[in-house]
Amino acid sequence: MIPPLVFAGLAAGGAALARGVFLGYPDKRVEGALLYGKEQAIVAACADAFFPPGGPIPLSGSEAGLVEYMDDYVRRLPEGQALLVRLLLEFIEHGPWVFGPKRVRFTSLGERDREAVLESMRTSPIYFRRIAFLSMRTMLTMGYLAHPKVAEAMKMKADTDPFGIGEKICEGIGGRS
């Protein structure tokens, strides 16, 4: 039989853990989304840490629709891969409990501390943390660069005939110079 004090301690610990892991998140930002409200909050926090408002590209991650993008992205992935992405979100969210800088979840941190968390992942001596960072940044960068305003700011053109020589090339078809 568990002594009452130990039981109370375990119960309090369990409640704190449950609160830390599951509670206090906003409702879903995107209606009909696959990602839970918590997951959307993590994506939004990452999106604006990677692509902050007022930066050299005048569009933040949230403004570029990265929460919606990630939701679509995860929805389209095979089940196993989708699970890995969701675990990645959890890893980022609760990483500060282990790696700092403060023992709170990622979404509870201020802008600077969020950047510090991601920076420590980026430069971490732990390979897995660096991979987690790269995976998250690559997925969000795909969404960010897909936004026309970002592409415009980068002067990035998707042009099927960038040299304007299509017809000339086609006349000598065969692909030989």
Binding site: F51, P78, G80, A153, D161, F163, C170, G175, S177
Partner: protein, 540 residues
Amino acid sequence: MRTLDVIGASGRAAREGEPAGRTRRAPFDFPNGDPHAGVKHYDEYRSDLELDCDVVVVGSGPGGAVVAKELAEGGRDVVLLEEGPPFGKKDFVQEAGEAMHRMLREGGTRATRGNMFIPTMQANALGGGSLINSAICARPPAWIWEKWHRATGVEIDDATLAPHFDRVEEFLFCGPTPIEVQGPRNLLFKQGCDALGISSEPTWRNVAGCRGSGECFTGCRNGAKKSTDVSYVPAAIRAGARVYTSVRAERVVMEGRRATMLLGHVVEPFTGRATHSVRVRAKTIVLAAGCMQTPLILEESRALPGCAWVGKELMLHPGLAIMAVYDEPIDPWAGATQGYHSLHHLREGIKLEVLWSPPAVLAARLPGLGRDYQGHLLDYQRMAPFDVIIAADRSRGEVRTKRGSHDPALTFDFHDDDVKLIQKGLGILSDICWASGAKAILPGIHGIPEILHSKEESEILRTMKLRGSDTITAANHAFGSTRMSKLASQGVVDGYGRCHQTDNLYIADTGIFASSPAVNPMLAVMALADRIACHLLEAG
């Protein structure tokens, strides 16, 4: 119709000594302009499929499509199965995430596990990898075949293979990338090589009418790339082959030494949900599902009991890219995807290339976070990615079925000696960057400065103690998982792709490679597939 320096509308003509009816060049004149006319789509399946044929070929990529076309033109009744759907020009999207989801297995998130993660990809589409690769057609040097012969005892040499290479190159309009579509990114690489006295050359590619849109990875919206879905597959259909897409091959039924039937399912595009069952009875079965998928079919079939080589000996060409940064904009998105390369160090196992893929994917090499990262994205127009790939002869991996799925679980250990080799290539690559006029290099390697501002600073790329896990290494050339050998005890197939323990089960994909082809593997697997088809026709 476009005027071709070939042989008339049908593209059919026999060369002296060649079987009549063999098509020499990929057709251009498609019914209603649709290169996929005659291809069975998912929407057309109403019930279970029961088919009989002479030969069933699994996979429509560079291996399978060649076999299907050649055998159909040789008078065989051929069924070609492809798990992915067909993609037309209008189906191609440029957004990296969506493109990968639609055209790649596992949404493009596949990676090997082992002493590091190495992203790798496999197409899931009519045309297989030829739909999304850079169309590079490179012949392995003669010494590769000598090496394969020494390693496996298989009678294979340059002279024997030359006619097969000739035929494939002619059919696919292979030729050097024209100067008009190179664009600054490719020409800067050439400039750097020239300045250092390193030989380089325009890549030979299977294209006709390339405009340098740099969109090979997400599918050619110009229709210039002669991927197998618009070349070999339509030619096979003209010769009577039946082509079924959205059909997943799962198991070969064996009766003693003979493969008698192939079992599988119709699967919904993009979800993989199985709907109808598929049974194909055939006199010969050719697996060309790719070196990551064919071993799974063999494993599921228990077709080769006691063979210890199935799924073993997986080899890759690990590749590492760095970004050269220039003073002026060079618009890297314009120009042939990989228009130039250097084979100067090929004998050492090093191939140097220009690289391009969706910018978001390459951005993994960019340093910084937040505003800093955004700043680097703004500088993208001044960057050119160059990469080194190596013949990682010491590194090995394995292909096994992932539990509860039809996807492979891949392991691969990047050997320290091969890491040293890629580091050597990295040093040469950085020299090329500086010689081409770069003002900085973004190496994207953990543990060294994120921006190298001078040739002196970049010496660290040579002197540092590099570990594989410090790098962002990717590998899209995979081979060796069902290797060829003269003796049954040393491999899975013989020199003609026949599984040793069987009379009529063949493999025609990169799995049969004995080791690295030193260059991009597509042309080699097509030539080998052509040889396998010729052998099957001769065998009667």
